[in-house]
């Protein structure tokens, strides 16, 4: 049901995606890989929480559920971008990306 002037909101991921992420996070393989990479156990509860809020939103369109879900996902994005890059991002792709390979390159050494 579209409110006038507002775009219809839906959870950033399908609810099943949250559940599959939770299951994947808890799996033996993932816990092993996490220890191998970070030396710690993964924390998976947030996925379960997100799944719960997602279903809550689907059932009751609860504002709390929606906001909790948004907060959680924004946190995830923040976690992924909390470093300062060593390089500057481009505005445009490299101009010579598709330039034909030069068969008659000038000899320069």
């Amino acid at each position: 049901m579209d409110r006038s002037g507002q775009k219809l909101w839906r959870p950033p991921r399908a609810c099943d995606d949250y559940w599959s992420e939770f299951r994947h996070c808890k799996s033996l393989w993932n816990r092993f890989h996490h220890y191998y990479t970070h030396g710690t156990s993964p924390s998976c509860q947030q996925w379960k929480e997100d799944y719960r809020n997602c279903r809550e939103w689907e059932k009751r369109k609860s504002t709390e559920a929606k906001e909790a879900l948004q907060r959680s996902e924004r946190n995830r994005v923040a976690e992924q971008t909390k470093f300062t890059p060593v390089w500057k991002l481009r505005q445009y792709p490299p101009r010579d990306w598709n330039m034909p390979l030069n068969q008659d390159k000038p000899q320069d050494s």
């Binding site: 995606d17 994947h24 191998y36 948004q70 890059p85 390089w87 500057k88 991002l89």
Partner: protein
């Protein structure tokens, strides 16, 4: 593009066929033809079936750097044990047809080089003059390509457990730099350590460190879903 780089300074000697012109397909040695043909087939398979590669190809296309197999990939003979490289001056990924014998290895090399290509596409990477940039891309490539997964390391008889992944990434980044630049071990270590935390935590475009194909599939799913994701944050 500036072509005045000295061969010996930038590791080009590892790829002796880079400046020979476009005759690699017409090589007369039968062995060459077989290696080249096998390399092409494995490359095609990697591009079509590896979720790591598919995600990177998609991300690059969306960044304005669509990859064409015939233009941006080159199967060549290389020196020593090097498996591949990214040549920024020609925007090509080089695959060492004489050193890549298995599909799993091809998948990893393609992913590794695609990370470099992706960095080249989205950022102003100064490959030739800025060692920190080079180190950063090598850290990311080792981290995200499966180069340092438990099984890959075990196959090299590097059995480590707690946080071994990070040791591996550090070590491989240092090795990669030493292979293409004439600097000492200590200097290479210092540079890698300087940028390690930043670059180890830069997981673009995966959004996570893909430890396995399943992780990579999840990352690919997320990538395909990114429009919905960002518009509902």
């Amino acid at each position: 593009m500036d072509h005045t780089k000295q061969e010996g300074e930038y590791g080009y000697e590892l790829f002796p066929h880079r400046n020979m012109g476009k005759n690699k397909q017409g090589s007369i040695a039968e062995g060459q033809f077989t290696f080249n043909h096998k390399c092409q087939i494995m490359l095609q398979f990697a591009m079509e079936t590896s979720p790591y590669a598919k995600l990177l190809l998609s991300a690059m296309k969306n960044s304005g750097c669509k990859l064409f197999k015939d233009r941006h990939f080159s199967c060549e003979d290389c020196d020593g044990t090097v498996s591949g490289g990214f040549d920024a001056s020609s925007s090509q990924i080089v695959l060492c047809q004489n050193n890549i014998r298995q599909q799993s290895h091809m998948n990893r090399v393609v992913t590794h080089e695609l990370v470099h290509a992706f960095d080249h596409c989205r950022a102003d990477v100064d490959w030739f003059n800025n060692l920190r940039h080079l180190a950063c891309s090598e850290i990311r490539a080792a981290n995200l390509s499966g180069d340092c997964s438990f099984s890959t390391e075990a196959a090299r008889f590097n059995f480590g457990l707690k946080q071994h992944h990070q040791d591996c990434v550090r070590g491989r980044a240092i090795r990669s730099i030493l292979a293409v630049r004439k600097i000492g071990q200590e200097e290479a270590e210092k540079i890698v350590n300087e940028v390690f935390n930043t670059c180890f935590n830069d997981h673009a475009p995966f959004g996570r460190i893909p430890h396995s194909k399943k992780d990579a599939n999840f990352a690919y799913r997320d990538y395909e879903n990114r429009d919905r994701y960002y518009s509902n944050l």
